[in-house]
Subunit: 244 residues, 2 copies
């Protein structure tokens, strides 16, 4: 049930209270209450941590004081550094799929000034009129597609003319086959299901890369750690009381 070990929780408890420079007054009953364990276990824990050199205890009169040692703090910091390496590193998201020929609508939409102008402004390139359709292969790729749709930061707004309305889309920059700068387009009203990706770029990708239907391609997206983890790891909502 509990992810952290008792030892870790004690060291974190102490470190949070600056107990590496200021000895902390502490009793085994209060520690046991904090940890949700028995007084006996709290006692044993402190004895063990002391034996392992992670903490120091000193009894003054009838109150005892606890302090983390350099060794204890180092251990905790090593855990911190390994977690930091995980959570402060850009996240690489990879999608794999095969090229296929769609309905050819992409070309029409992208050449509409209502879209073309936004694409040029927000993505920084004049898109070749046409989308490269990719049918995703693995479950991971499909799940990552959902993730990217959530994270896509570029909004392409819908608009309307005399005849009809044109839906909006979201986009995110990516790299195709480790070389080509492209953007993945998440179209609001699409005729494709979510195992399909639509990619746009400045050059005619099929031509430039010699891609044919069925060819395997790889898309890579790099997300800054802050963006990724703040979106992906939602702190659990406080328990909702059932409606009566």
């Amino acid at each position: 049930m509990q992810l952290l070990s008792f030892k870790e929780r004690v060291l974190i408890f102490l470190a949070e209270r600056d107990a590496f420079t200021n000895s902390l007054k502490m009793t085994t009953p209060m520690l046991s209450k904090y940890l949700g364990t028995s007084q006996q276990s709290a006692s044993r824990l402190l004895i063990q941590l002391e034996k392992e050199g992670f903490i120091e205890r000193r009894i003054v009169g009838r109150t005892s004081y606890v302090k983390i040692t350099e060794k204890g703090l180092s251990q905790l910091r090593e855990v911190y550094l390994s977690l930091k390496a995980i959570f402060e590193r850009p996240v690489n998201i990879t999608l794999e799929g095969r090229v296929f020929t769609g309905l050819g609508e992409g070309a029409y939409y992208i050449s509409l000034p209502g879209y073309a102008k936004q694409i040029e402004e927000k993505l920084g390139f004049r898109a070749y009129p046409g989308t490269l359709n990719i049918s995703l292969l693995s479950r991971d790729s499909i799940e990552n597609r959902h993730l990217l749709q959530r994270l896509a930061p570029i909004e392409i707004h819908g608009f309307r003319d005399e005849k009809r309305t044109y839906g909006g889309a979201k986009a995110i920059k990516a790299v195709l086959n480790d070389t080509e700068d492209v953007a993945i387009l998440f179209v609001e009203r699409t005729q494709y299901d979510n195992s399909v990706l639509e990619v746009i770029a400045e050059p005619y990708l099929r031509g430039k890369l010699g891609l044919k239907d069925g060819d395997k391609v790889k898309l890579t997206v790099v997300i800054p750690p802050s963006t990724f983890f703040e979106n992906f790891t939602k702190t659990k909502a406080p328990a909702q009381p059932p409606v009566t």
Copy 2:
């Protein structure tokens, strides 16, 4: 012996390998080898982690793939954030002691141009000619004195004239009784033992604060987290093989 729990180690193992966006191929024998435990325990671990919703497993053919769930990553991130709060926060070091009258040498030394000039340059104030001597009270304060001596960033160099040599010192800025900007001086060749602090400041502190011998005073030093933890937590040296 081991600070982290098995569950934590598995989640870190997976997170380090990007197994939140890319399912990781993994067998129980290889996990057990990595953890230093049995194959049976590795199997049980994965079953439990899955039951708790921290990981997802999928068997494709005869190979199984493991992925951290959002919940699992959130849990790990919560641990990270609580450690980050510890290791990315300025460290307050407090020393308590009582004022006492020393040998009066401080006044002489501080007024020597060889010292006075350096103090003004490096500390940014003209020191009142005299030191406030503080006899430290608690064991923590004495230990913190050693710590500060190690961390003191300002070097006051020794020098010599025709008659004799004058030793060097280190200094660090501090706050006395929450109000006065002062500096603690760690003199190389001092006649005091290490339960004594010498403090200098621009004003005549005894006068300004109405301090008499025996009065309790508090010194506070704020250390940036990087400085503190990089000095205080030395990564343990690799085990040295015994000489044969």
